[in-house]
Amino acid sequence: MAIVKMEKMHLLALKNEQSKLMQTLQKTGIVEVIDITEDENEEKQGHKEDRIRDEIAKELAELEAKLSDLKFGIDFLKPYSKSPNPLIYGKPDVKKDELSEILSAESKIKKSLQVVFDLDKKIVHLKSEESKILNQIDFLMPWQGLDIPLEQLGYTDKAAFMAGVIPRKSKDKLEEKIEENSLLADIKVIGERRDDLYVLIIYHISGKEEIQNLFKEFSVTIQDFMGLQGAPSEIIEQSKKRLDEIQKEREAIKTQAQGMTQELFNFEVLYDYYMIEKDRKTNTLKLFDTDKSFYLQAWIPKERKTYITEIISKITDMVYVEFTEPEENDDIPVLLSNSKLVEPFEVITELYSLPDPRGIDPNPYMAPFYWIFFGMMLSDAGYGIILSLLTAVALLKFKLEGSGKKFIKMFFLCGISTTIWGAIFGGWFGDLIKIKPLWINPLDNPMAVLIVSFALGVIQIYTGIILEGYKNIRDGHVLDAIMDQGFWLLLLTGILMFVFQPLAGIAKYLAIIGVVGLVLTQGRAQKNVLMKFASGVLSLYNITGYLSDLLSYSRLLALGLTTGVIASVINTMAKTISGSIIGFIIMILVLLGGHVFNIVINALGAYVHSSRLQYIEFFSKFYESGGRAFDPLRIKTTYVKLEDL
């Protein structure tokens, strides 16, 4: 259990069997190919070498282009299709003959891709046309009352017909000025928008210059209709008709896209197929090869060694395989393996960071604490049962995968813990169902529950310190374990025992041994004697750290109380409403809504705070993070399952 031991596989084989071997390795899905091209000397790689590399790179580029086309097709068609959500219902299984059928029809699929591209182009075109028309309608709206065709605006022999925009407040003044200068002109208001009036101005050509000066003075803008023809209202009418047509064309495109379900499926299968090929090609670039042979290095879980040798020997005899232990500076990938009960809690660690490959897997130690803490913070039997039931249904009905599945499983387990704690504290939907607590109601005696919280905290902090000590001992630093962890345990135990009167006598000595030990040893890294002593004394300051860690566990009580009290508030509110039939219905609604709200908000709180206790209080004691997840070359698909490739 814990972190899986990795070994390095060295494989030497013939070039002409390379692709076959790579395919087999990909199918097993248990080796992570190491990129060794960077380590090797550049000079060693001859021209031939580069040529092969270029060839693969070219193939990769072609694959890349195909993939991006397919991806476009999938993304385009996906919103139109009603295919079931793969997150819930799992990926559809594609059998070998189905796949070869699709592969043989590739040219046809290419054609349907072209159809998708055309549809997309059409949509883009329709959209730009639509926005153009909408702009035009908006522009012409104030001119709707103008009954002259726009192309007839302008000058006749004697008169000028101008459409213009004039600020509302200037219109009267302009008319006055025209009157004053006794010009032959008339201003007719057509429409208005905000502070502007849209007007038709008719004037005699003889007064052209003066009028135009007046236009400047009163900031009248002559409207240019950019070659539009017909009366504005007619143009608007036609535009609206065109808009309707565009809408219809869109509908047509939609129905066409909806009808392309089979094509979408083909795209998805092809996409996954090429993706697998791309993975393999990319990994092939990591190998080191000569004219006739190639050399591959890969990480493999130790226990799969015999399995992989067997598989390889079935393919060919002309191969040499050797396994070595990882070296000092190797970047070992991390693969965790835990029992079924612990595994779901791996997500909590994964969200923080994977463990260092040479450290310890915290999950077996973290999981029980997480489980207990979550339950204690949610602490309502009714809520626990609901949580477990819902997650159980999700697990049974939906085909979940990966970390999503782990999460749901974790919540299922935590629901059980919540139920147990709820029974202990007597919380069944708050005080809705009155069942006597197995132990006490925290509202009656919060101090007792607080002490339990601290006790759990002490256990977890001790576990953390002991794990760090174990790590030291495992690495051969027994003295470090005694000095850094042993003395602290003595001191902390001594302080804790002061609480219990009969033990105070021994407690004093334990604490004194601990303090003296710490003062004498914690400065051992310093050279100067005085500094040694000073650092030793200063290290005692860490005691405040332990104290604050411990106090942090009081949240176990606080969040537990929150759930219980809010639940009882909901119940009280609901009860005050009941009485009549309508009141009864409202009461049920209040109870339902209120408890759902309470479950959601407090389950979130329990998740967050239980995680926090692991990350900050527990992991800080011993955990070395920074691992890199084991990412083997495997059949990795996005849309469909291609198991028997």
Partner: protein, 159 residues
Amino acid sequence: MSLTFGQVIALIGAALAVALPGIGSARGVGLVGESASGLITEDPSKFGQSLILQALPGTQGIYGFLAGFLTIQKIGLLSGTLLDITPFQGWLIFASCMPIAIVGLMSAIYQGRVAAAAIGIISKRPEEVAKGITFAAMVETYAVLSLLATILMLFGISI
């Protein structure tokens, strides 16, 4: 029904315990909501993660409500008959409401700022959102402690 001075003081304490953290939470949740909306315009699929971050500064309001509820329960308002409370007891109850009232108000706002900043984590590195949640939870510690102080003080007062 005429209220005594002690009852009034206790009720003011309860009111502040609900109101101040409520204001803080509203502000904190609002801050996160603003930055989250910016992210959602770019990538609507991040809604779930953003919502978790937004909910975090909301807890102070709940803690305050809880404290206020416990207080009015303590003085017998819920059972219909207000207990007789001396001015001294009233001030004690008022004092016990203060930790969550003050810390709830401030910590919700600060937590909101941390959570709003963590929205940036979701946009750039969604797989690291747990770290952002942890940063925000660090702030909440003090709200939890003050709630605990309020509850313990409240239970310690004998009427």
